[in-house]
């Protein structure tokens, strides 16, 4: 087999192989069972609980969970606004980078709080080390927030009737200490040994081969890059993100970073299976997501490896695939695969320029974010998928002649209302954001570098990335201005918190309902037939509603290229 393809297949398989035991471990962590990390973390957590006045055994209802979640996120937002705007005179600023403008700080703060990491700045010049470290803190806690919501969902799905769904703080702290921290440390160590810098010394002087002297930005890159992927955050230390030679020096680090961003989302699916002791359900979810992922990844890899037909027609050798905007050390296949992994999983870190990807790849990247639930971000991917399960359960429940129920809880009008609003939201935010930017061209569309279909794709991509909390950019638009900072900032806020509130509310309401035991008339939700149904619902709601918009962007571009 082609070694390029072998490489990505190997990464995928290895990640799944690691994710299964990790899932079992995560399930034990959230269930409060003993794990091998107890010895290290128990005393530390106890100290933390006592210091913060948290009583870890106090259980909370879904409303209380959400209240704390929103409050704590708001505090983080205020803190980061302060840090980002004042970093110029705060410590740890060896390169003397200035504070951010208010609208850029607003956008950056929100985007890191919501685990999106849309970056309208470049890390080299836009942030001090203190700012970087604070953002790194946000990368931990925002990922932990996502994991916590998944843990609340797990708890609510248990077969019983209750309004007590665990303790928010316990879930949050354990997510940080027992899941994100150890995985990040391991990843960071691998990166450091492969040449990623880890220093507070500021810019370093070096002499290039041409004999010129340049100042190279460095910093605590390894730590930052590790949590950027483990927490599916995607915000790069440097502006070029994981295409930067210090952030992603070798083919090996590329594959480690690729695996690292897929690891926790994979593991969370298996954790659901172990936690509820419904391994078949987890397999169904993983199966649907993987089929969706492959349907997006395979055409992309093929398109990238085949290269640009227009160039081939001109007699240029495209044997290495479409190399524009790609790092030679990664190659076309790994770059194409990464571009789908990072969009499917809401990481948003990039190792190639998505703006330069083939139209078909651009289409797939957009679709990956529009669907936003094939794997999805840390914890929240499952929440998004849960909404589609509810919708699929409803329709297929009717199809077999029973009032729809999922895991023994009947789904009624109230839950449908919430599920439908959440399913609607993504479409609404992406399309209306794009519509505003094209309708008021003097603010939005005027900043485009590319006219025509590709320009339209760039606008669509920006809002899709914001709404999917992804954070990658197709770039090509001057995005650091008040229009983009504020509109995407608002989209980020809504698209992060409403899709958390919705599923948690549904899960909380369902948890309080009477549990109906399964009978032979109950629709099994862990079968491939039901999986097909979920896939169809996702395809019709998430993919088809964007068809007209996609037709004007990447699809028009694709057919133009063919002719």
């Amino acid at each position: 087999m082609n070694t390029e393809i072998l490489g990505i297949v190997l990464v995928f398989v290895l990640t799944v192989a690691f994710a299964i035991p990790l899932g079992r471990y995560i399930a034990r962590v959230y269930n409060g069972d003993s794990t091998f990390t107890d010895g290290i973390f128990n005393p530390f957590e106890k100290l933390l609980y006592r210091f913060c006045g948290i009583s870890p055994n106090e259980e909370m209802g879904w409303k209380q969970h959400l209240k704390i979640l929103l409050t704590i996120n708001f505090v983080w937002f205020l803190l980061s606004m302060f840090v980002l705007m004042c970093q110029g005179w705060l410590p740890l600023n060896p390169d003397n980078n200035p504070g951010m403008s208010a609208d850029l700080a607003f956008n950056t703060a929100i985007s890191f709080v919501v685990n999106c990491n849309l970056q309208h700045y470049s890390g080299e010049t836009g942030l001090s080390y203190f700012g970087q470290l604070f953002l790194m803190f946000l990368q931990f806690v925002s990922a932990a927030t996502g994991l916590t919501t998944a843990a609340i969902l797990f708890n609510a799905l248990k077969e019983r009737t209750t309004d007590k769904l665990g303790n928010f703080y316990v879930y949050l702290i354990k997510s940080c200490t027992r899941i994100l921290l150890p995985l990040s440390v391991i990843t960071a160590i691998i990166l450091v040994f492969n040449g990623t810098p880890m220093t507070f010394d500021g810019k370093q002087q070096m002499t290039t081969l041409q004999g010129e002297t340049v100042n190279v930005s460095t910093g605590p890159v390894a730590a930052f890059t590790a949590i950027k992927h483990i927490g599916t955050n995607g915000g790069g230390f440097f502006g070029a993100n994981s295409a930067h030679p210090l952030e992603n020096p070798t083919y090996l680090t590329n594959m480690v970073e690729l695996g690292a961003q897929m690891l926790v989302p994979f593991a969370m699916i298996f954790a659901l299976g172990f936690y509820l002791n419904r391994k078949k359900l987890a397999l169904m979810i993983f199966g649907v997501m993987t089929v969706g992922f492959l349907l997006l990844a395979i055409p992309t890899v093929i398109a990238e490896m085949n290269g640009n037909p227009a160039l081939t027609k001109m007699g240029i050798n495209t044997g290495m695939g479409a190399t524009e905007g790609k790092e030679v050390r990664f190659g076309a296949a790994a770059s194409g695969f990464w571009s789908i992994a990072t969009t499917v999983i809401s990481t948003g870190s990039v190792n190639s320029m998505h703006d330069s990807a083939m139209p078909l790849s651009g289409l797939m990247q957009l679709l990956a974010m529009m669907v936003n639930c094939f794997y999805g971000g840390c914890g929240v991917g499952l929440l998004n998928f849960y909404i589609f399960i509810i919708l699929a359960v409803f329709i297929s429940g009717l199809m077999v002649g029973r009032t729809p129920e999922f895991l023994g809880k009947k789904i009624e009008a109230r839950e449908m209302k919430i599920a439908m609003i959440i399913a609607l939201l993504h479409t609404l935010l992406i399309l209306s954001g794009t519509a505003l930017s094209t309708a008021f061209a003097e603010y939005g569309a005027s900043t485009l570098n590319n006219p025509g279909y590709h320009g339209f794709s760039e606008i669509l991509y920006e809002f899709t990335s914001a709404s999917a909390n992804n954070g990658s950019g197709m770039e090509g638009l001057g995005d650091n201005n008040p229009w983009w900072n504020i509109t995407t900032g608002v989209v980020l806020l809504l698209s992060r918190f409403l899709p958390i509130i919705g599923p948690i509310a549904i899960a909380g309401i369902l948890a309080a309902k009477k549990h109906v035991p399964e009978s032979s008339g109950t629709l099994k939700t862990d079968t491939s037939t039901f999986g097909l149904m979920v896939f169809a619902v996702i395809f019709i709601i998430a993919a088809l509603s964007f068809f007209p918009a996609l037709a004007l962007g990447p699809i028009a571009e694709y057919f133009s290229l063919l002719n």
Binding site: L391, F394, I395, S396, G397, L398, M399, V400, G401, R402, T403, E412, A413, M416, K417, M420, A423, L424, T427, L428, L431, S432, T434, A435, T438, A439, A441, A445, G452, Y453, F456, K514, V516, P517, S519, S520, G521, T522, L523, K524, T527, T529, F530, L532, M533, A536, I540, L544, S545, F547, P548, A549, A551, L552, I555, A556, Y558, F559, S560, L562
Partner: protein
């Protein structure tokens, strides 16, 4: 079940429905259906566009094209209205035919003087009878309205309602005191107290349920409407935002194209058929001779987990029957049978009669002189006959044993063994003695209805647990339960046992259905999620349940469960079909919208449609005509097959999901070929 197998579309019903479909265009009635209401707005906009073009506007294409779109949209609305109207008309016709029999029947009203009713009769029309009035019915009279017999006993022909020609006996007191309007008294005379106000009988309630005005949406219908409204909203967003997108790409879109895209994408198929499906569900129940008090009850029936059935009359035929004579050792079989027959000479119980039946001998043929009949008493627990010097006794084994052993005779061990064997097989042993010596054992058995096992098997496949309720001892009950194939049984049941069982199952989150007729069933009927009262039952029972079965058929519950499932399935499959259609419609309309401005998008025109106009027209026409094509399915319901939930989902997903993707591709292409001839 008596079903009037009339065709789905009778002429007079169709005419009425056609009239109604125009009346229902009023926005006031359409707003109840958000999906079709948006279509109506679209139709109004198209009308405005047509007028705009007539005043000289050039940018929107030809008048004819726009007008045709307007017409197609109007027909989409009319088709949807027709679906609802025809379902209503059918339901009403069915209910009317039941109601007609009782309207304006002369009633012989009698007035009380103090506590006594005089025989002085005033003839009044039945519609003037109020609750509490008392009327008399004699041989040949038609009973004017629903009521309860307060005096007398009569044979009544209920065929007008149940279709069952055998007359039934109704008498005052007890559980068979209720009479229904429209039925006919065949013999004797009864006094009946009216139990319902005029216009408030179950039938009137049922008619109100199928009529638009008072029809309440069921919870499941509401949830589905939310889903469909959500889809509609998504496509509103898609269509509204398309305007700036298209302007940005220099691909202007006409208003007609916008509206066509919108109407095609929203789930009009299910939106147009939704209320027809609900009405048809209740109508199907009515055709099965079941009157439902709410649409919700029919839906709930589809979800039933546990079904409580009385043994007698449901699982077994009536009462126990004698099936075997087992003479004791050394006794001639003929002598034993003779004694058995004689012992049952005066036995009026069904069991006693069945002994004579089995023997095939008329006891009078023995020409016995001066017989003294010994009646059954709770003390002796045996009955029999005394002839000259012969004392024959028949009774439970232990009572006969006492008689035999008291007089110093031995009770043969072989007989004791036989008795145990019969009891173990679910039978009831009766021992016969002559002059305090055991002659033999008669075996009585419950006869299980033919075909009942298959019905229970079907229920099991549906996921419904069946529970048999019986007064028998646990041993007998277990045997019959196993033989009939029920999943559980309540033996030696008292009325409160039913209630407790229902409560216990409900505690576990299960939905319970039961059938009952007596007043002592009323609390359990009220407690059950689906309580079906027999029409012959008491008024209290009928009030407590949420359905009344006119046929008094205890196995009717099985049909009701299937009707409920069919109702939900029809909704689910048509929703799937409707949404799956969108794939093809996208491929028809999207290239048509942009092809002029972006010729490269010809690549999306995979159906190779003639022109943008023909593509858009074909899509809206397909969208409209699919509604009338599916009306028969909506009215009849999707066939339910008890093959397990997953297999059922696979099947329906294949037919209505995959079918829903493929059919419009073919349909739109065919329509396009035809439309192209005219453009």
């Amino acid at each position: 079940m008596k079903t009037q197998n009339k065709s789905l579309f009778q002429k007079e019903l169709v005419l009425e429905a056609l009239k109604q479909s125009v009346i229902k265009l009023s926005p006031k009635s359409l707003i109840r259906n958000p999906i079709m209401f948006t279509v109506e707005i679209g139709t109004a906009v198209m009308l405005a566009v047509c007028i705009w073009i007539l005043t000289g506007e050039q940018s929107q294409g030809s008048f004819a094209y726009n007008f045709v779109i307007f017409l197609v949209l109007l027909f989409t609305l009319l088709f949807a209205n027709f679906a609802e109207a025809i379902a209503e008309a059918r339901g009403k016709a069915q209910a009317d035919s039941l109601r007609k029999t009782r309207e304006e029947t002369p009633a012989k009203k009698i007035v009380p003087v103090g506590d006594i009713y005089l025989d002085e009769v005033t003839v009044v029309p039945s519609s003037s009878l109020a609750k509490g009035d008392v009327f008399v019915c004699e041989e040949g009279d038609t009973i004017p309205t629903d009521g309860e017999i307060i005096e007398g006993i009569a044979t009544i022909d209920e065929s007008a309602i149940t279709g069952e020609s055998a007359p039934v006996i109704r008498e005052s007191g007890g559980d068979k005191s209720s009479v229904t309007g429209g039925t006919k008294v065949l013999s004797d005379k009864i006094k009946v107290r009216v139990t319902t106000e005029p216009g408030e009988s179950f039938l009137d309630k049922m008619i109100a349920l199928v009529e638009g005005a008072s029809r309440q949406k069921t919870p499941n219908e509401i949830a589905l409407t939310i889903l469909l409204a959500g889809f509609t909203l998504i496509f509103i967003i898609v269509c509204v935002t398309l305007k700036p997108f298209a302007d940005f790409s220099n691909a202007p879109i006409t208003i007609a194209a916008f509206i066509a895209l919108f109407v095609c994408l929203i789930p009009t198929t299910i939106g147009g058929l939704l209320s027809a499906i609900g009405i048809a569900g209740m109508d199907r129940a009515l055709r099965a001779n079941v009157i439902t008090k709410s649409g919700k009850a029919v839906e709930t029936a589809g979800d039933i987990d546990v079904l409580l059935l009385d043994k007698t009359g449901t699982i077994t035929i009536g009462n126990r029957k004698a099936t075997h004579f087992y003479p004791a050792e050394g006794i001639d079989e003929k002598d034993f049978i003779k004694a058995a027959v004689l012992s049952s000479f005066s036995d009026e119980t069904p069991e006693g009669k069945s002994i004579i039946e089995l023997a095939g001998i008329n006891p009078s043929s023995f020409n016995v002189a001066n017989p003294i009949f010994i009646k059954f008493t709770a003390e002796t627990r045996s009955s029999g006959i005394d002839l000259e010097g012969i004392r024959i006794r028949k009774g439970a084994s232990d009572s006969i044993k006492t008689i035999v052993e008291k007089s110093g005779n031995t009770y043969p061990e072989s007989v004791a063994n036989k008795v145990a064997e019969i009891a173990g097989n679910g039978g009831t042993p009766l021992v016969v003695s002559q002059n305090e010596k055991v002659l033999g054992v008669i075996e009585l058995q419950d006869i299980i209805k033919t075909g009942i096992q298959e019905r229970f098997e079907r229920l099991r496949k549906m996921g419904v647990k069946t529970v048999m309720v019986t007064g028998d001892n646990p041993l007998t009950a277990r045997f019959i339960a196993e033989k009939a194939g029920v999943d559980d049984f309540i033996a030696e049941a008292k009325p409160e046992d039913k209630m407790n069982y229902i409560k216990a199952e409900q505690q576990k989150g299960k939905l319970v259905a039961m059938m009952g007729d007596g007043t002592n069933d009323a609390p359990a009927l009220a407690q059950a999620d689906v309580g079906v009262a027999m029409n012959s039952g008491t008024q209290a029972a009928k009030e407590a349940g949420n359905m009344v079965d006119l046929d008094n058929d205890p196995t009717k519950l099985i049909e009701i469960v299937e009707i409920g499932k069919q109702l939900l399935m029809t909704r689910g499959t048509l929703t799937t079909f409707s949404i799956a259609n969108d794939v093809a419609k996208y491929f028809a309309i999207i290239p048509a919208l942009f092809i002029t401005a972006i010729p490269a998008l010809q690549g999306l025109n995979i159906m190779n449609l003639h022109s943008p106009e023909s593509a858009i027209l074909s899509a809206v026409i397909f969208n409209a005509v699919v509604i009338p094509f599916l009306i028969p399915l909506a009215l009849k319901g999707v066939a339910y097959k008890p093959i397990g939930a997953s297999a059922l989902l696979r099947r329906n997903l294949l037919i209505y999901g995959l079918g829903g993707i493929i059919v419009p591709f073919i349909g739109i292409k065919v329509i396009d070929v035809v439309v192209a001839l005219f453009i």
